[in-house]
């Protein structure tokens, strides 16, 4: 949807001019870099992402003197970097979707309960949130990897563990103020029970926040997954996850910079676009802007 004529300029700090007011650019980038590759990787990718070809090892990309056979070059084993990056989108997208879905539900439910019932429920929940903020996620991932080996499920677990507390804290804060609003008092006078008040009156009023927060977390999750994979405690090799691809080129940064650069660019573009889209969504959904 186009912004209103003369668009409301909103000092949101992070402003990339046209892109932040008009989400077409970030959405297009997301489609090209993340969404289409993850659904159609097998159709688009020119090569098998796992196929090694020793004679073609460390071919440079086409714009740096390479051939169209491997448009973005090859890695140490001669695997096509374009194909591997395309397949990597699948892992970035599925981990962020599943992780954010679970983390959002868990965090929102806990935040609703803490903010609505207050008292000891609230105290216990907030202490757990404090602890989970204090615990470094990398350390948790290391412990998990040491105990169970690195796996897809392990990464999801770490993602959920990191995310839920953000949602719980944010939702709780909003619920604390919402429950004092007159429409909640009016609902109680009308005879509404806790369930109706929570799900019909309070939850719909925190949904915007939850949606915006979830969108903005996609970037965080992709970075987190890449970091874990880069450190070797995320997605196991030889899966072409973006973090692993970057890690593959670590030793070659000087001689074959493209091995790290290409997947790194994919991460950068995705996270940047998601954040721009999230900013735009927040401005769109902000009830304070839409009401009155």
């Amino acid at each position: 949807m186009p912004p209103p004529a003369g668009g409301v300029a909103r000092g949101s700090g992070r402003s990339f001019g046209l892109a932040s007011r008009y989400p077409l650019v970030p959405i297009t980038i997301l489609m090209i870099v993340l969404v289409i590759p993850s659904f159609f990787a097998d159709l688009i990718a020119p090569h098998d992402p796992y196929a090694a070809s020793v004679p073609n090892r460390l071919e440079p990309p086409v714009f740096a003197g390479g051939t169209w056979e491997f448009p973005l070059g090859t890695d140490r084993l001669g695997r096509d970097i374009l194909s591997r990056t395309i397949h990597g989108a699948k892992y970035a997208l599925s981990i962020s979707l599943v992780g954010i879905f679970l983390g959002t539900i868990l965090g929102t439910a806990v935040g609703l309960a803490a903010g609505y019932f207050r008292g000891w429920t609230d105290r216990i929940v907030m202490r757990v949130v404090d602890v989970s903020f204090a615990l470094p996620s990398i350390l948790l991932a290391l412990a998990l990897a040491a105990a169970f080996g690195s796996s897809f499920e392990g990464v999801i677990f770490v993602v959920v563990f990191v995310l839920w507390s953000y949602f719980a804290r944010q939702v709780r804060g909003e619920v604390l103020s919402l429950r004092e609003r007159d429409f909640v008092a009016r609902a109680r006078v009308a005879g509404a029970g806790h369930g109706r008040i929570i799900f019909r009156h309070i939850l719909p009023n925190v949904m915007n926040t939850v949606i915006v927060l979830a969108t903005l977390q996609i970037g965080v999750v992709i970075i987190l997954e890449a970091s874990l994979s880069f450190l070797g405690i995320g997605i196991p090799r030889p899966t072409p996850a973006w973090g692993l691809l970057v890690a593959d080129g670590r030793a070659l940064v000087v001689s074959a910079w493209w091995v790290s650069l290409i997947p790194g660019l994919a991460i950068l573009l995705t996270v940047l676009s998601v954040n721009l889209f999230g900013d735009w969504l927040r401005d769109r959904l902000d009830p304070k802007l839409r009401q009155r």
């Binding site: 609003r181 007159d182 429409f183 008092a185 009016r186 609902a187 109680r188 006078v189 009308a190 005879g191 509404a192 029970g193 109706r196 019909r200 009156h201 719909p204 009023n205 949904m207 009830p287 839409r290 009401q291 009155r292």
Partner: protein, 325 residues
């Protein structure tokens, strides 16, 4: 009043809040009764306990002591069915229609809420009742599809009133029902309340700091100061000849209806004292222009009938023969 059995009876109602180690006596032994079809106004400055009293009547809060009876039945002893009946019988309209309507709910569901929560009705019957309630408050039935932010302040308050009316309540608690509205809208809404009362025979308990509203709407007035009623009686009598010095000051502070009317201001000195440490004796004595001596500083005057003041009761030492001196 007093002839018919009261619809609402409040006896020695008390609500204390703990603030750290101190205690706030927000409501401290308040008693009154409202007859069917009657209107009682609770009047006073902010912090006098009028809103807390309203919340206690609505069962949004639990009293520390005292009892509230609706139709002679003690609210604390209501069973499930009794509570459901209570939620049908007693409804409320709040001050700020921007806060009292859920912004994410359509008018239809807002208005129907009491029925949805307490009665099993079919969709058709629900729609019919919503239509009737919206029409009764001067809105169109097709407004049911809209969200609250699509309405003006006056229309929103009408939606709130429709939602309070739908269960055919016998008592409406109105918490400053017009003070958040534009002045030009207020009289419309007040007239609406009057018309609805004439049509449905409800009783009103109005919480107000605005005496104009009160004078227009109320049959009885209870003036509150720091958690207690200082003067209670028929509205006309109180407006014609206020007895308690606080009531006098409150009335004098209101602007006259015509600027040429002689208007002797008896301004109150100082602020309302902290309810954490109400002054000993009569709570009003530090600000009282009619202070008569040490008795004001030591004894809290009882709320008693006063000679030559009709059905009124006043809590002031001025009118105790023994106290003068």
């Amino acid at each position: 009043m007093g002839d018919a059995a009261p619809l609402l009876e409040v006896r020695e109602l008390t609500r204390h809040f703990r603030v750290g180690k101190a205690q706030v006596r927000a409501v401290d032994g308040v008693s009154f009764a409202v007859a069917p079809g009657d209107t009682l106004a609770l009047v006073g400055e902010s912090g006098c306990g009028k809103t807390t009293t309203a919340r206690l009547i609505l069962q949004l809060d639990e009293p520390t002591a005292g009892e509230i009876r609706l139709d002679g039945r003690d609210l604390r002893q209501l069973d499930r069915a009794g509570l459901r009946q209570f939620r049908n019988d007693v409804q409320a309209v709040f001050q700020d229609p921007w806060s009292s309507l859920n912004p994410r709910m359509r008018v239809r569901e807002i208005v129907a809420e009491t029925l949805i929560c307490n009665q099993r009705l079919g969709r058709k019957e629900l729609d019919r009742q919503v239509d009737a309630a919206l029409t009764a408050v001067g809105l169109r039935p097709d407004h049911a599809r809209n969200y609250p932010h699509e309405f003006s302040g006056g229309q929103r308050q009408r939606v709130a009133i429709a939602s309070a009316l739908i269960s055919r309540p016998r008592l409406l608690v109105l918490d400053e029902p017009v003070s958040a509205l534009d002045v030009s809208i207020r009289s419309q809404i007040m007239n609406l309340f009057k018309d609805l009362q004439a049509e449905f025979g409800m009783s009103y308990v109005i919480v107000a700091h605005d005496l104009g509203t009160t004078r227009y709407m109320a049959d009885q007035i209870a003036v509150m100061y720091l958690g207690r009623i200082v003067e209670i009686g028929p509205s006309e009598e109180i407006f014609e000849a206020p007895k308690h010095p606080y009531t006098k000051a409150l009335l004098a502070a209101a602007l006259p209806s015509h600027p040429d009317t002689p208007h002797d201001r008896e301004e109150l000195a100082g602020e309302i004292p902290s309810p954490l440490e109400p002054p000993p004796g009569c709570h009003f004595h530090p600000r009282c222009p009619a202070f008569i001596g040490p008795v004001c500083e030591t004894d809290y005057p009882d709320l008693d009938p006063v000679e030559g003041a009709g059905a009124r009761r006043v809590a002031c030492h001025l009118y105790r023969g023994a106290a003068v001196g």
